[in-house]
Symmetry: C2
Subunit: 409 residues, 2 copies
């Protein structure tokens, strides 16, 4: 036993190493998916319109397609009588061309027949049933283009419709569909394998026995990876065994990132560090932070590997501080809503470990900050936390009544 | 032809009928799903803890389990020497009981052996290798409970851990997992069948031909249903044919809600209305609103059926105003972030249809409101819309410079 860290480094240095690791290691990829499945995804290239919208002059109302000048001067008292030569419904078209004195019955969405330049709504027309010819009385004078949606008036073929980086909300998906575009290139989300390690962890459905606990980390980390925009791939629990862990990690190298938890502290013999040392490179092993000192960061080939502490509360704090923003960045997810900083009065004295940056969970009640003084295994207590405070490594005591800056979750 | 609406009703009356319809027709259901898949779902019952957490007194550090009184007075110069009688790692336990003068080597997470009441961190100990007995020098005086997480200190068995209605964020999922709870009852999301109708609509991969257009509504409505928290089930396009539509609707009655688009205006002969009249009940057919007058609302057995206008822009406006909030409510999704109302100056005169409430899409530029004066088929133009303004039915003209209230999307 005995802590054998590579080299304990400061929080800021760790952040820099992790930033560079993601930048240099992870390459943005795109994938082609059905437009209908692309809700909330991000387009990975500029998209041009492939057709005019509308693709033809379209009737906006049910009524009669006419030459507008045939209606000039018409009103209820002085209707103009036109000869109806055809009927066209949405989805079909008329082969006839309207000449002066003629009209064609038309439905909303149907293409405007040749020769016509306006539509008179059905409300402003009257069928002259008694007449032997198909005569229609037009009761209103309409200008050219009345109730016609002109070809390409919404968008012209070849125009930019979506810029690279656009988030596909329902309307944007509708635009692509209206263009007849079935598939779209979007940024691929990073795949994150999740491996919990520990002899003490029970697998699902195993009965509790002395010394054993249920694994919280697999599902907990799956949740935060989802929240960051990654695709989690949960793996079976691994015992504190070098070969078993190495095999599981080798089998997870088809993902972009591997997040282990547990197996990083000295007590279990630095198994994770030894595995990464052998098949990859350890970049960080030990950060001067509480909780989460035994955090490991490394790479194996072009994949990123993170070792979080085994305690769920520590794991989640380290993930939030060091990993979350990078997974959001590479999965093109929006920045976390929170991370808002507010000042409050401290309601209870804090004793902090000197020589390490401490992230302490707190609850905010009546505008005062109450530290959550539970150990970092206490996951149920974590659910009361609203925020955390950062206590610099040089500070040992923060007293009641001092103003502290809290960072909201 | 000729518009044959049941009875055109006002917006407020329509909202009331729809509110009552959802209230009386849709029954909240719950389903049992794996905890690991429950991210962002809502628990449908109070959940009590099934075990104490921790389930045993747990070591928080690597070191030695001792009787604390054996350490009293110890320091670097005056160590206390204890006899190490066993070793216990996480996941196992010691059968031995510590007596005065004895200690047991212990790993983080391992159960505290009987007789011990404190842990001394390994950093404050020294193995006396040269000694023939297994002697350990304790270099620090520690109080009782030092570095022990007491059984049930995080949460007691039988206590409420999640209240009905709690959203399952990663931490809450972690709590359930730590309890060994594998499955959880959550509110079921409503299943929404989506049917686009129209002779003019091309199915996926069909080549464009005269008078035909690509269907935007299926994917557009799928997107907004997802945004509201429902589970969309998209169906093939239906032609304007009574029997075909009736068959498709009958085949969709295993969902909770059916949303059709198109087929509601007079031009296609009120097909949807006639189908609902036959196999169910039409509650609304025609709302005094622009766009979206031919909107239909009805029920078939215990299922809700909505007929949206065929034009995508009209469809989306009617969905936003009349349907979205109800699907959010029954799927227990958060209220829409937007719906914020702000006053701005109008930059361009608006002519509105008298006698109907009008919802007009607008773009906000330099703190001024620009109406988007495109027809309601113009979906590409819709992508520039930031908000809409409501123009009461009594108003015909809103002039440049007037202050209007915009409702943000």
């Amino acid at each position: 036993m005995g802590t054998e860290f590579l080299k304990i480094i400061d929080v800021e240095e760790a952040k820099k190493i992790i930033r560079n690791l993601f930048k240099e290691t992870y390459k943005l990829k795109s994938e082609n998916i059905p437009v209908g499945d692309a809700y909330n995804r991000i387009v990975s290239e500029d998209i041009l319109s492939t057709i005019d919208l509308p693709i033809f002059d379209r009737a906006l109302k049910d009524g009669y397609a006419i030459k507008s000048e045939d209606s000039f001067g018409a009103n209820e008292e002085n209707p103009k009588i036109l000869n109806c030569i055809d009927k066209v419904e949405a989805g079909s078209f008329s082969k006839k061309t309207i000449k002066t004195g003629e009209c064609i019955e038309i439905s909303t969405g149907a293409p405007i027949p040749d020769g016509a330049d306006a539509v008179v709504m059905v409300e402003y027309s009257e069928k002259l049933e008694e007449s032997s010819t198909k005569d229609i009385a037009i009761l209103k004078s309409v200008p050219p283009t009345e109730d016609i949606s002109k070809k390409a008036s919404d968008i012209k073929k070849g125009k930019l419709i979506l810029r690279k980086g656009t988030i596909l909300n329902p309307v944007k998906i509708g635009i692509l569909s209206a263009q007849g575009i079935d598939d779209v290139n979007v940024f691929k989300k990073p795949i994150v394998s999740i491996i919990s390690t520990g002899n003490e962890l029970l697998n699902k459905n195993e009965k509790i026995e002395p010394g054993k606990i249920y694994d919280a980390n697999t599902n907990l980390i799956k949740g935060v990876v989802l929240a960051s925009g990654g695709i989690p791939l949960t793996k079976d629990i691994v015992k504190d065994d070098y070969n078993e862990l190495k095999m599981k990690i080798n089998g997870s190298l088809n993902s972009d990132i591997i997040i282990c938890s547990g197996g990083t502290s000295a007590g279990v013999g630095d198994i994770l560090k030894n595995v990464v040392d052998e098949i990859g490179e350890v970049l960080i092993h030990g950060i001067s932070v509480k909780p989460g000192k035994p955090t490991l960061v490394g790479k194996i080939k072009d994949k990123i590997i993170i070792g979080l502490p085994g305690n769920p509360v520590s794991a989640i704090i380290i993930y939030s501080i060091f990993i979350d923003s990078h997974i959001r960045l590479i999965s093109k997810s929006p920045e976390k809503g929170g991370n808002k900083r507010i000042n409050f009065e401290l309601a209870k004295r804090i004793h902090s470990a000197k020589g390490r940056m401490e992230y302490l969970l707190v609850q905010i009640k009546n505008d005062k900050v109450y530290p959550i003084l539970k150990d970092s295994g206490a996951i149920a207590s974590l659910s009361y936390a609203d925020a955390y405070v950062k206590i610099p490594k040089s500070v040992e005591i923060v007293d009641v009544g001092e103003i502290v800056e809290v960072i909201l979750f």
